[in-house]
């Protein structure tokens, strides 16, 4: 769609917002609300990764690294230098963007498997650095005593479940809306064009290298935002979450939800964050289950769940309204 002034495109966002507002009151279970807060944080990263993978056609197996840099940078600035959480978060986001920029310039010249390996390497380097940082954190297990966010005297600490939930989701929905606007713009078309054919895109005058780095930095910024929120919500961070396992889970969320579809990112995240909760019986086997799920999705619905559901919906729609069918055939 080039000119999409219709109100229709806002419907999914409004529905999501309503569900999100009702959910914590309907659930009433603090644990479940906390899981949904985590879903909100992951949604931010996955939306960015979806822009990178589904729209621009690049891959990153190192996004847990940016998540970690954001979290640790904000946490350290807060704990060691005593900066207020908001300030430390902003500095952490800018710092992560800078790192993504310098990593992105050489890395994004690579393609396919090479890019996957390079980003994977980056993620592991970050994990190793964070693991060896106990001289700085005074604690081999991680960084403790991070201050929670405060707003008008209210502290968003772990006892204020609702506050964290709404803060996470307001930011996540904002990121969602920003990203949707990007995909519907000239820049979004350029991303898709790069995905379609790099040669053709650059002969149209698209500066491929610039756009690749831009989208990479943007996705890293989203991950850093999630990282900062994570650090100040939990008030304790450990390196173990910022490693390959998380990076792969993030990529799986993108693929299962549907590459090149922002809503896919939301669905994929919700599904994969809740699955382990439902699969507690088979706890040890969750990675195996992810693997099988990934295979099934790649084989039977390469467009992901949202892509598949949209096609199904269109098919049903045309079956029940003969007029549209006739129009399509004509």
């Amino acid at each position: 769609m080039i000119k999409d002034s219709s109100y229709k495109k806002h419907i999914p966002t409004v529905i999501l917002a309503i569900i999100l507002i009702i959910y914590p009151f309907a659930s009433g279970n603090n644990y479940h609300i906390n899981v949904m807060t985590l879903v909100g944080l992951y949604t931010m990263i996955v939306v960015g990764l979806n822009l990178l993978m589904g729209y621009a056609g690049q891959i990153s197996l190192g996004h847990a690294g940016f998540f970690g840099i954001g979290a640790y940078c904000s946490g350290l600035l807060n704990v060691k230098m005593g900066l207020p959480p908001w300030i430390s978060a902003i500095i952490a986001i800018i710092f992560t963007a800078g790192i993504a920029y310098f990593i992105g310039i050489p890395t994004l010249k690579l393609k396919g498997h090479y890019l996957a390996m390079a980003t994977l390497g980056f993620g592991e380097v970050v994990h190793v650095i964070l693991s060896k940082m106990d001289w700085l954190t005074d604690n081999p297990d991680g960084l403790a005593d991070i201050k929670p966010f405060g707003l008008f005297g209210i502290k968003f600490d772990s006892s204020f479940v609702m506050g964290q939930y709404f803060m996470a989701w307001i930011i996540a929905v904002a990121i969602l809306v920003i990203s949707m606007n990007i995909t519907n713009s000239r820049v979004g078309r350029a991303f898709k064009a790069i995905h379609g054919s790099e040669t053709a895109a650059s002969s149209m005058g698209v500066n491929i290298a610039k756009y690749k780095v831009q989208v990479f930095v943007l996705s890293a910024v989203y991950a850093a935002v999630a990282g900062c929120l994570y650090a100040h919500f939990r008030q304790f961070i450990a390196p173990s979450i910022f490693q390959l396992h998380t990076s792969i889970t993030l990529v799986t969320m993108v693929v299962i939800g549907g590459q090149g579809n922002i809503w896919g990112a939301v669905l994929g995240t919700v599904l994969l964050t809740w699955l382990p909760e439902w699969l507690t019986v088979a706890e040890e086997y969750d990675i195996m289950f992810y693997g099988i799920l990934l295979m099934v999705v790649m084989i039977f619905m390469p467009d992901g769940l949202v892509g598949r559901l949209t096609t199904l919906f269109h098919r049903l729609w045309s079956r029940f309204s003969p007029r549209t069918q006739a129009e399509e055939n004509g």
């Binding site: 080039i2 000239r186 078309r189 350029a190 898709k192 064009a193 995905h195 379609g196 054919s197 040669t199 053709a200 895109a201 650059s202 002969s203 149209m204 005058g205 698209v206 500066n207 090149g260």
Partner: protein, 244 residues
């Protein structure tokens, strides 16, 4: 319009172009013929700035555009229809065309949409299919879209890379009809790269023959059509005569 002098291009250690010189005058259709691997696409990619040359110069009008970035080349008025069409298959037909005017879109949206209508006028089938995904078009329609997309940047010089590839003879003549119309109606200068020498020489004013990175022959289309060597190697005629 464009003058190329002793251009040499390498891919690593492999030399693709060995001192190629050619020119295309305003309003001309010039064809560049050659077999697979002769260096035709390399030449176009060097002109477009997709590949850098090691020596030689490319002059466009008065300007030296040797090894300029692809973005600047498009801005100067050279546009390529790449080999194998290279459409953005996930984008709709209309979006593909808009991508063609990528450089103008931000500042001159209105102009771009006006121009889109002109393209739809040249290719009515694209108007019918404008909301369809480019990947779902037939081969001929895809070629038309690729040409339309290249025209969206309002090029002074259009580079066509094997527009006949993989198309039925009837569609090929349709495409070539459009190419001649372009020159007459839009005054576009065209450099046409082809393997199908017969069709290409019919529409072109002049031609060059490229073999293993060198220009081995040049002349007007009539001369080339009559040339025995061309007849044998590119037109598949008089094969026995020469060899006996």
């Amino acid at each position: 319009m464009i003058r190329i002098q002793s251009l040499s291009t390498f891919y690593g250690n492999i030399q693709a172009l060995r001192g190629v010189s050619l020119h295309v005058d305003d309003g001309e259709i010039v064809t560049l013929l050659g077999a697979n691997g002769a260096g035709k696409t390399s030449l176009l990619n060097t002109i477009c700035g997709l590949v850098n040359s090691r020596s030689g110069t490319v002059n466009f009008g008065e300007k030296d555009i040797t090894n300029t970035s692809p973005e600047k080349i498009v801005k100067l008025g050279i546009s390529q229809v790449p080999e194998g069409r290279q459409l953005f298959s996930e984008l709709s037909v209309k979006e593909n065309l808009i991508m063609g005017a990528y450089q103008h879109y931000r500042k001159r949206k209105k102009e771009v949409y006006n121009h889109l209508e002109q393209i739809f006028h040249i290719f009515p089938i694209l108007k019918e299919r404008q909301e369809q995904q480019a990947g779902t078009l037939s081969g001929g329609e895809q070629q038309m879209l690729a040409i339309g997309r290249a025209l969206m940047s309002r090029p002074k010089l259009l580079l066509l890379d094997e527009p006949s590839m993989g198309l039925a003879p009837k569609i090929v003549s349709e495409i070539f009809k459009i190419i001649t119309d372009l020159r007459e109606q839009q005054k576009t200068t065209i450099l046409l790269v082809e393997q199908n020498a017969h069709v290409a020489l019919k529409v072109a004013d002049r031609g060059y023959i490229l073999e293993t990175g060198r220009i081995v022959l040049q002349g007007s289309s009539e001369e080339l059509l009559e040339n025995k060597e061309i007849k044998r190697a590119y037109l598949g005629r008089g094969y026995k005569e020469v060899w006996e």
